[in-house]
């Protein structure tokens, strides 16, 4: 009896267990279909931690807002969005490994690229291998996009667009502009900007009197800036990251460099730059991909205007201003949602094709991908710090100030 009873219980337990497994295996695909999984390797620690946290913040804002509204429409079904993120510790190799993990273990439908052209390049190779769509929101170097990849799309526009418009704009304001000194960080994005501005300036008849790169990890610029001073250029154009640019601007002042135009890419686009420099930031110009002063209205996506995004951001960040990283990365998810909705499926190839056909107006501006996957749908603003505020000099449609020459 006892034995029989035990075996009866065992059989019942087994049946129940099998039933549960069967139910789970049936439920699993159903669950997976109800959630759009977006994978994101992020630099949450290490040198790019500030930038990684910016991406994380707006993606959370975006997914909270979209999920609160019931999710996104995919082939008639409302799908919630889940962002699966891992910290790659600002280590490019690790970013690549985590992208593989996101694709294989977490089975994400779409990947978001990490910060910067260098790390995007690594993750793009992984995404291409597995044929998973990858949307990059903070990579602008054409060399990343000109590798023939079919699954890579970027919401920033090509660097060359930022330099040619700037040369034309400055030349128009200051026709006597004759010489430029170019000093850039030897890193994927700053280097490509330095090269692009030299070409654009030469093309417009401006003589490039100094053109040098400084290594990543340089902590002093006095040698280069002393040389630049001795050449008295009309325009000093420096590229790098915030720390380099704060020091560079201060050292220009210390050494008595008196150029009427000082451009620091992309210094003024970041609040840390204007905060770190105070009055010294005045007059510094830059080109940027987006600024919250650009007033796009009646647009698609999670926010229907630039101001709506700005207000939501102020609340989420406790009063901080967003910069182009926030803008571009939030809009990149609008692009993903739009593509999935148009594809009516989360199947990677369908999403990829829908991404390629994107033609979207967002709070960040128009987004339309060119042949190589870069956003070619927009003119990028030229900005300048004037009395501590960011003013837009170009394009004319959204400009709110005239260019100021540094005295």
């Amino acid at each position: 009896m006892t034995t029989q009873g035990t075996s009866h219980i065992k059989a019942k337990t087994l049946a129940a267990a099998l039933g549960a497994v069967a139910a789970a295996s049936l439920a699993a695909p159903a669950m997976a279909q109800d959630v759009l999984k977006i994978g994101a390797p992020l630099a949450l620690t290490g040198g790019l931690a500030d930038e990684g946290h910016k991406q994380e913040l707006v993606w959370k804002m975006w997914s909270d807002k979209v999920n609160a509204a019931g999710g996104i429409d995919v082939g008639g079904t409302k799908m919630l969005v889940e962002i699966v993120e891992y910290d790659y510790q600002t280590d490019g190799k690790r970013a690549g490994q985590l992208a593989e993990k996101l694709i294989n273990d977490d089975e994400v439908n779409v990947l978001m690229a990490p910060f910067g052209s260098g790390h995007t390049k690594i993750v793009a190779a992984v995404a291409e291998r597995y044929q998973i769509p990858l949307v990059a929101c903070v990579s602008s170097s054409t060399e990343v996009f000109n590798q023939g990849f079919k699954y890579l799309f970027g919401t920033l526009a090509p660097n060359s667009g930022m330099t040619e418009a700037m040369v034309a704009e400055f030349k128009e304001t200051m026709p006597e502009l004759g010489t430029i000194a170019v000093y850039g960080r030897d890193d994927v994005f700053p280097k490509s900007m330095a090269t692009a501005i030299s070409a654009a300036a030469s093309g417009a008849g401006i003589e490039v009197v100094y053109e040098e790169l400084y290594p990543v990890g340089a902590i002093d610029h006095s040698a280069a800036l002393s040389t630049i001073k001795s050449m008295s250029p009309d325009w000093v154009y420096m590229t790098g990251y915030t720390q380099d640019l704060i020091l560079g601007r201060k050292q220009m002042e210390d050494l008595g460099i008196e150029a009427p135009i000082i451009t620091m890419v992309t210094g003024p686009a970041y609040k840390e730059f204007t905060e770190g420099l105070g009055e010294l930031a005045n007059g510094v110009s830059s080109s940027t991909w987006w600024h919250h002063a650009t007033g796009y209205t009646d647009v698609s996506g999670a926010w229907d205007s630039t101001d709506a995004f700005y207000q939501a951001f102020l609340e989420a960040s406790g009063g901080e201003d967003p910069d182009y990283v926030h803008g571009s990365c939030a809009a990149a998810l609008d692009v993903v949602a739009d593509a999935v909705t148009r594809a009516g499926s989360v199947e990677p190839t369908a999403v990829r094709d829908a991404l390629a056909a994107t033609d979207l107006e967002t709070f960040y501006g128009p987004i339309k991908f060119g042949e190589n996957g870069m956003n070619e749908g927009r003119e990028m603003p030229i900005i300048q710090v004037q009395s501590g505020e960011i003013k837009i000099l170009y394009p004319e449609s959204i400009a709110d100030a005239e260019m100021m020459v540094i005295e």
Binding site: G46, A49, L213, P215, G217, A223, S226, L280
Partner: protein
């Protein structure tokens, strides 16, 4: 650009470099420990100075000693609690331990301070003389770096603790037999090195923006300076620092800033081959 300007840039940078390297050299020379924490100590000193200055408005010159003492206490505790346990182990063990501790400190700083560059604004203008333009804050930084280096030199030469450190460096066993508390001396040496790193960070924050990712850069510089100048004394760090500052300044103008750091490394490699003790190092500490 004039020779005087390039030289002046190099000398000012060199004294700051000496200040960065001196604690690292002391720990390496005395404890035979390659302290991977050194760069983060400097960054910590810089951040503490910045936040103290930003929240109170007190001059960073006054904040500097407080920060230095705080780093002294932290350094003593770390050496006494952790590094002393493995100080006689092969160099790879201490290297791994300090590397691990550095990762913790580095990431804690990133979490609490964020990686945003912070700068103490001391805009005192500049002095133009003899064809040289020099910002006053750099001159203050140079002066402080020289005072700190001189003080350490005096402590090691004349004080009781300084003589005990030298004795332990010469012969650990004999020093112990003479009644010197070796573990205490080790911890004190490490603490003095941390104090110097903290002070160097404070000086640095007065001249350059500080971010957490500078810790690796500082560590690399300290390494190169110790090899160029040599271990075993304050003079090695001073000579090595000045040499590197001047080399980088001239190389930056002659072969371009992109190659200046490479030139510094090439000279380091050359010295390693032809003069492993460094320019003024004591034989036996290479």
């Amino acid at each position: 650009m004039g020779f005087a300007q390039i030289l002046a840039n190099g000398v000012v940078l060199g004294t700051l470099y000496a200040c960065i390297a001196i604690g690292f050299s002391l720990v390496w020379g005395v404890l035979n420990v390659i302290n991977m924490l050194h760069g983060s100590f400097i960054v910590l000193g810089g951040y503490l100075t910045y936040f103290a200055w930003a929240s109170t408005g007190i001059s960073p010159v006054i904040i500097l000693p407080v920060v230095a003492v705080a780093l002294f206490v932290l350094g003593y505790a770390l050496q006494y609690l952790f590094i002393n346990k493995v100080v006689t182990a092969p160099v790879l063990t201490t290297l791994t331990l300090t590397f691990g501790l550095d990762m913790i400190l580095y990431n804690l700083m990133t979490v609490f301070f964020t990686a945003t560059p912070r700068r103490v604004s001391l805009d005192y203008g500049r002095i133009d003389a003899l064809g040289v333009s020099m910002p006053v804050d750099r001159l203050i930084g140079m002066g402080l770096a020289l005072v700190l280096t001189g003080l350490l030199f005096l402590v090691l030469k004349t004080s009781r603790i300084g003589r005990a450190i030298v004795a332990v460096r010469m012969d650990r066993e004999a020093a112990a037999l003479m009644g010197i508390r070796v573990n205490h001396i080790y911890a004190t040496t490490f603490a003095i090195a941390a104090l110097m790193a903290g002070a160097a960070g404070a000086v640095f924050a007065m001249v350059f923006p500080v971010t957490t990712n500078l810790s690796g850069v500082f560590l690399g510089k300290a390494f190169v300076i110790c090899v160029i100048g040599g271990l075993g004394g304050v003079s090695g760090a001073l000579v090595g620092g000045l040499a590197l500052g001047i080399i980088e300044s001239f190389a930056g103008v002659i072969v371009g800033p992109q190659n200046a750091i490479t030139i510094g490394f090439l000279i380091m490699l050359f010295l390693l081959i032809v003069r492993p003790t460094g320019l003024v190092g004591v034989k036996g500490y290479e």
